[in-house]
Symmetry: C2
Subunit: 245 residues, 2 copies
Amino acid sequence: MSEITVTAAILVIGDEILSGRTKDKNIGYIADILNAAGIDLKEVRVVSDDEADIINALSALRTRYTYVFTTGGIGPTHDDITADCVAKAFNVELLENEQAMALLLERIKPEDMNKARRRMARIPVGASLIKNAISKAPGFQLENVIVMAGVPAVMQSMLDDVLPRLQTGVKMLSESIDATGLKEGGYAAALGEIQKSHQGIIIGSYPSLQPDGRFSNQIVVRSKDARALQAASDDIRKMVETMLK
Amino acid sequence: MSEITVTAAILVIGDEILSGRTKDKNIGYIADILNAAGIDLKEVRVVSDDEADIINALSALRTRYTYVFTTGGIGPTHDDITADCVAKAFNVELLENEQAMALLLERIKPEDMNKARRRMARIPVGASLIKNAISKAPGFQLENVIVMAGVPAVMQSMLDDVLPRLQTGVKMLSESIDATGLKEGGYAAALGEIQKSHQGIIIGSYPSLQPDGRFSNQIVVRSKDARALQAASDDIRKMVETMLK
């Protein structure tokens, strides 16, 4: 089976996540959207608002994956340094962008425009803008790095805008088989054998704790090949049915 | 001000987070606990159930931070490879541990003990066990790496057990100043000046979108020095009060 593989990483930028003050809601959202689009999310990193940390993470991720999605650090205050870091990572200038300024002026009155707000119009040279339907201040894409806001609604609006322009691959398909009533340790050996006979299919077993203190298990099968997925899922369903008897 | 700095990273191991199937609840929880204990969380990574990815992330993080907390991948099924990866990263043997086996037998009947369940008693040589009040199968600590389960309730139980044994530093203090009614772009310049005159204090401005479509902003000041924190907070409160007039 020939397939295009498009990969991605998320880089969450923000002291507020690491301090626990803000609970991240963007990782799970982006994961769902990318997965549905046929982009394989392979890694996530969360770093603080520190220039060296951001640049190091960007450099590591952008050379390894098709796309890097960043969230956070693109507002008007002194702690918003993402655009500066991206420009430095790519060794390009960060200049006030006319189109970005026009977008800002859709929401900000000319008399309220100041140096801090102009910061949000600074875009690395060579980047294309990503629209933000909520508060207008744009994100941007520079080569394979997609820079978005940290506020979930704004980030989601930016992801809607940029996604249709991205390369997508063959979509990962998945099937979930309910193994409630069985114990992981009871089916682990049989499931391991099924995994061995279905190479290349990703089989995971995920326990979760129920309110009654018992574990319930879901077995998830993932593949980009619908037939191979079906074959592995059938074997697992048979295994579960036999064991439940 | 002299202070002990104790740092940490979290390494979340699991395809289910990257696929979007499971929404991580451990990062925010661990961040809160570490912050309250005086351990500075500096970085988070999420990687898939891939041996090379796990070992590379472990090696990068454990040499950089005081502690690395891992979550996920310590169950009985074939996709649970965290213990194997930690042993490989430290180049030590992974052997069946008598004490871990005794803990497993508190929950598993001797006649139900099998090869898959015995996997959960395999502990890297030199590691100490971390107790799990929920399902008994232990986590472990090897040098500065703390290996915990992925199921939130189990992870939380393990964190309770291991935390009192860890080194802790001077606690990060924080103060949050409500800047609702002001716009970030309006106070950004003044806040930047306050940041400049309070070097070493961490000042962040965090917008969030309200149901009415407006942004409300919180300014958060963080420092390990209570007096310095107070001084910066006072300046910011004055700034906010003046601007709200």
